[in-house]
């Protein structure tokens, strides 16, 4: 009889808080979507809730499968994926679907697919693969080494800006920003960056560069408007500021406990704009109040904390940067969306990860979390003394899913204590009781061996 076994350490390193908080967020999103679409006329054979549920299932299944494959498989084809993404963006230029004055979507088997969603994680992978190289580690970022990652960022940035989609383009830069900041900057680079930034600011604000950009069509008037409206939403209560005002009254009217499930009048009677997608958080805060919003925010906090923990504990540079990039992708989307909904940020079309309705976004973010978890699961592969610490180290590079004819019969009089420093001097086991970490009684510190 064939048996499928997994390496036990994969499970030992599995980050439960990361995955469980993601599941929690998805559930919150589905509940919210159900409430929002409850009495909306159904379009097509499958309701929007149904579609989103299908995407959830598909995303989780894909994420589950992805955990079986070593994340380092992504490193080699990264340029290829990136090239594919760029090609899609170029394709959008020519045969994209235009809606609301912007060309952002490609027709794909009858559904609309947004290539910029795909490019965001791919860019993170590519930049991570750059930064994992030895020369970045040795020299940090210098005037020469910064060129390649900057260029690969600016190319999709420019293409997305042309769609035009200022929000996503900006998000792209913000996603890779923490990865850049993680490297050491050379002095020459620092001076260059400071002077270039100052020069650009002077040009834009003092020498009329804004007009020039607008004339050339690089920045659109409405984008400037949107930022200006953000500062004074009350002045234009029926136009662009209307969305912000309605969203604020939706959130504010939720008060502490909220109006209750499907009782949010702002979303139910159509005052809240886009309650399924961009303003989903407002609908949620209206119906579940401060408490509900706090629950969602806590889940996000747990998710981001544990994702950063994965990056921190990872001993592979590619893995660390990859985890960082994907974490930052989720973080910025969450932050910008929530600030936008609460009226602290201009309205840009960035959804709230896991909660907002949208298949592509959900797939991408779920896979991103799966990849982060993948990095964390496989951190045992990078040990200082692999053979001593890890009897399975020789299997490095092999798929971890292996099929055995027969389960090896292991008999031990006494199971080895994983916390025994003699046996595993450097190896931090995952928490067997993860909640203890939050209750202040963690594992005993294990001091590293003398070098």
């Amino acid at each position: 009889m064939k048996k499928i076994t997994l390496d036990r350490r994969l499970l030992e390193n599995f980050s439960w808080p990361l995955v469980l908080s993601m599941l929690g967020l998805i559930v919150c999103g589905l509940v919210n979507l159900y409430s929002v679409t409850l009495n909306a006329p159904s379009t097509g054979s499958v309701s929007e809730f149904g579609k989103q549920a299908i995407f959830c299932g598909a995303g989780l299944a894909l994420a589950f499968l992805a955990m079986f494959f070593d994340y380092r498989l992504l490193r080699k084809p990264a340029p290829l994926l990136y090239g594919f993404g760029i090609a899609l963006l170029v394709l959008v230029e020519f045969m994209g679907i235009t809606a609301g004055g912007a060309t952002r979507w490609l027709p794909l088997f009858g559904v609309r697919f947004q290539p910029s969603e795909f490019v965001k994680p791919v860019l993170a992978i590519l930049v991570a693969s750059f930064f994992a190289r030895d020369d970045y580690q040795k020299k940090g970022l210098t005037l020469t080494t910064i060129i390649a990652p900057t260029l690969v960022t600016l190319l999709p940035f420019a293409l997305i800006l042309r769609e035009p989609d200022l929000g996503t383009a900006g998000l792209l830069c913000l996603t890779v920003l923490p990865m850049f900041l993680f490297l050491r900057f050379s002095r020459a680079l620092l001076i260059t960056i400071v002077s270039v930034t100052a020069g650009a600011l002077i040009w834009v604000f003092l020498l009329g560069g804004l007009d020039f950009l607008q004339k050339k069509g690089i920045i659109h008037g409405y984008q400037i408007d949107r930022i200006l409206t953000h500062q004074k939403p009350e002045e234009d209560s029926n136009g662009k500021g209307w969305q912000i005002l309605q969203s604020k009254s939706a959130i504010g009217s939720g008060q502490v406990l909220g109006r209750g499930f499907h009782d949010g009048t702002q979303q139910k009677y159509g005052f809240l704009p886009a309650p399924k997608t961009d303003f989903a958080f407002a609908a949620l805060a209206e119906e579940w109040g401060f408490v509900g919003a706090l629950v969602v925010l806590s889940l996000f906090y747990i998710l981001l904390r544990s994702a950063i923990g994965v990056a921190r504990r990872s001993k592979d540079r590619f893995g660390r940067y990859l985890a960082l990039g994907l974490t930052s992708l989720i973080f910025w989307q969450m932050l910008i969306n929530v600030l936008m909904v609460t009226g602290l940020f201009p309205v840009v079309g960035i959804p709230l990860p896991f909660v907002s309705y949208g298949g592509t976004s959900l797939l991408v973010t779920t896979l991103a979390v799966a990849t982060i978890n993948n990095v964390g699961m496989r951190r045992y592969l990078f040990q200082e003394r692999p053979l001593l610490e890890n009897s399975q180290a020789w299997r490095e590079g092999q798929p971890t899913l292996r099929v055995q004819e027969k389960a090896p019969l292991v008999r031990r009089l006494k199971p080895p204590n994983p916390q025994e420093p003699d046996v595993f001097p450097d190896y931090r086991l995952p928490h067997t009781k993860p909640w203890l970490k939050f209750m202040g009684r963690g594992k005993p510190e294990i001091s590293p061996p003398e070098p």
Binding site: T265, Q266, Y269, G270
Partner: protein, 634 residues
């Protein structure tokens, strides 16, 4: 920290950056949570209220105004509706769809489709999301036809407008009055609670004075709407209370007769019941047409009415103030008798004039009446007799009597807001008004109803009625009963006695004998008012408009219109048991007995002969740029 610096992933300072990352994360979440705190807890109440007003809408349900009926229960003013077709351009669809819609609606309602389409173009840009008035004045049949085509008339809605519709626009327009939009001053006054901008209220006539009864109570509806303003559910409603109906004292037939008799002459006729002071007819000419005010009067029509030199909007019967002329001798004689200044048998000698100081006060009869007692003084309207009475009575006693027992010099409160008080002069008044002492010579013109004395035709009718009913003054009124929508009696207006003249009944009988003689005896001034078979009593009056000197130069018939005398005739009948008082005033038309007398006679005849009616009401013709029908010069 165990993971620091010895792993290959770490380069210098990299792990330290996690420290900053954690703090950045905490900062970001702190920002969000504090923002949510501000929105949901600190300002939660405010936003909850904002959100509630967002989706609830408060509307008012219009009520129906009470009806106005005459004394027999015939409806004079009723409510009717007009339909308007509203178009919301955004809901109507694309351009070509509206073209088809215009064609269809135009065909059904008989309007020009091209014009409708142009109208749609007009409000397509500016007011695309709100319903715009597309067609006005649709009939019920049109609406029914449009309803059957509902499936292909997207974006259309029907609005029902309540409208006040007088049954006959020419009938007693001054009494009934018209509606107009409430103005700013009225909105702020406490007389009109619960009304808002754009509401219609009575602006003249009983429509104005009886507003609180007629108005009714508006209903209210609280409902939930969505962001497009569509009604989702009704939360609570209060249904409107219809206004109360008025039963006027006006007798339609008498009113019609009076108006017809006035015709195009400027003047007024008051027909009143002396037993209870119910006003049976109150005609004023020239008049306007109430139909003009249906659904709002046009600006140029309004301007032409207001600018008309003949003032058709003025109700001459209650707000026109004239010198009462010789009709005032009724007041004089009763006052003097009750004060004991004269007795019916007191005789004065009329030599055609009375000299006071160095001024000569003439009688109308230059040759003089000779010896005149009370009976003759009334019958032949001797001026010198009343000069003498006035001289003996004095202006202050005269004014006191006239105010207390005849309702002169004050508005008694008939149900019309434009009622004028008239003027009874006395010494105080002269000092206040002119800062000069009263001259003894000024009493004499007042004694014959000239000088400073002013009275409205209603007041003349009042003192005639006082003479007719033996000395009782009551409040004249226009409203008999107030009933609710179903005809249930709410209030009956009882006659309200104001004063009773303290006069020897024998003396009163003598005065009435004199008044009867005016019409019935040979030598009486008012014989032209006689009605066959009925004994009537009356008094003529010819009120000078300007002083004698002004028209001394003119030949007898050649005086300019505005210098001609006002003709008065006030009468009651039957003489022994009066049941009707008729007062006629004709402006600038000559002698009272000659001009006003026959008119009064015809009114009286119509009162006693039910068969007399007139269908000869002059049909009203709109003349936008000219003064209304009346010619002016006679």
């Amino acid at each position: 920290m165990p993971w620091k610096s010895e792993t290959p992933a770490d380069n210098a300072g990299e792990s330290g950056r996690f420290f900053w990352i954690h703090w950045a994360l905490i900062l970001a979440f702190g920002l969000i949570v504090s923002r949510l705190w501000v929105l949901q807890i600190a300002m939660g109440e405010e936003y909850r209220e904002k959100s509630d007003t967002n989706h609830t809408r408060f509307t008012q349900i219009p009520t129906t105004r009470g009806l106005i009926m005459d004394r027999d229960g015939r409806v004079l003013v009723e409510n009717s509706v007009s339909f308007e077709l509203l178009l919301t351009p955004k809901e109507a669809g694309e351009d070509f769809e509206v073209k088809a819609l215009s064609a269809e609606v135009g065909r059904v309602t008989g309007r020009d489709p091209q014009e409708l389409y142009q109208k749609f173009k007009g409000f397509q840009n500016a007011r695309a999301f709100e319903p715009n008035v597309w067609i006005t004045g649709l009939s019920r049949a049109d609406i029914a036809l449009l309803e059957t085509r509902r499936y292909q008339t997207r974006g259309l809605s029907v609005r029902v407008n309540g409208m006040r519709r007088p049954v006959n626009g020419n009938f007693a327009p001054h009494v009934i009055g018209y509606l107009g939009e409430i103005n700013q001053a009225q909105l702020q006054s406490e007389k009109y609670p619960g009304l808002s901008q754009g509401d219609l209220i009575g602006q003249s006539g009983v429509e104005q004075s009886m507003e609180p009864y007629l108005q009714g109570q508006k209903g209210q509806r609280l409902m939930t709407v969505d962001s497009r303003g569509r009604l989702l559910e009704e939360l609570e409603s209060k249904y409107p209370d219809p206004g109360l109906s008025l039963h006027l004292t006006i007798d339609s037939r008498m009113q019609r007769v009076s108006q017809a008799l006035l015709g195009e002459r400027a003047g007024a006729i008051v027909v009143m019941d002396p037993r209870n002071f119910e006003i049976l007819a109150l005609a004023s000419s020239p008049y306007f047409n109430l139909d003009d005010f249906m659904g709002g009067i046009s600006t140029e029509r309004w301007k032409s009415l207001v600018d008309d030199p003949n003032h058709p909007m003025e109700n001459r019967a209650v707000s026109g103030q004239y010198p009462p002329g010789s009709t005032f001798k009724i007041v004089m004689s009763i006052s003097a008798l009750s004060e004991g200044v004269i007795t019916p048998d007191t005789v004065f000698h009329c030599a055609g004039a009375l000299r006071l100081g160095n001024h000569l006060f003439g009688c109308w009869n230059k040759r003089g009446h000779g010896s005149v007692n009370l009976h003759r003084s009334l019958k032949e309207s001797c001026d010198v007799y009343y000069y003498e009475v006035g001289r003996r009575l004095g202006v202050d006693r005269l004014a006191k009597k006239a105010r207390a027992f005849f309702g002169l010099g004050r508005a008694l409160g008939v149900d019309l807001t434009t009622e004028q008080p008239g003027l009874v002069p006395d010494q105080d008044w002269k000092t206040r008004r002119f800062k000069a002492p009263w001259n003894a010579g000024e009493t004499l013109p007042v004694s014959i109803g000239q000088g400073y004395l002013l009275a409205t035709p209603l007041q003349v009718a009042q003192y005639t009625a006082v003479a007719a009913n033996g000395g009782t003054l009551m409040r004249p009124h226009l409203v008999r009963e107030i009933t609710d929508f179903e005809g249930q009696l709410i209030r009956r207006v009882e006659p309200e006695i104001i004063s009773q003249v303290d006069i020897n009944p024998d003396f009163m009988r003598k005065v009435r004998g004199g008044l009867e003689a005016v019409a019935m005896e040979p030598g009486g001034t008012g014989r032209r008012a006689q009605v066959p078979g009925i004994r009537i009593a009356g008094k003529t009056g010819t009120a000078q408009v300007v002083s004698l000197k002004r028209y001394q130069g003119y030949a007898r018939g050649g005086r300019p219109y505005k210098y001609q005398d006002h003709a008065w005739y006030t009468s009651y009948a039957p003489a022994d048991d009066p049941e009707v008082v008729v007062t006629v005033l004709l402006e600038h038309s000559g002698g009272g007995g000659a001009v006003a007398g026959p008119v009064a006679g015809k009114v009286l005849a119509a009162y006693f002969d039910q068969s007399i009616d007139t269908t000869l009401m002059p049909p009203y013709q709109a003349q936008p740029d000219k003064p209304s029908g009346w010619k002016g010069e006679l």
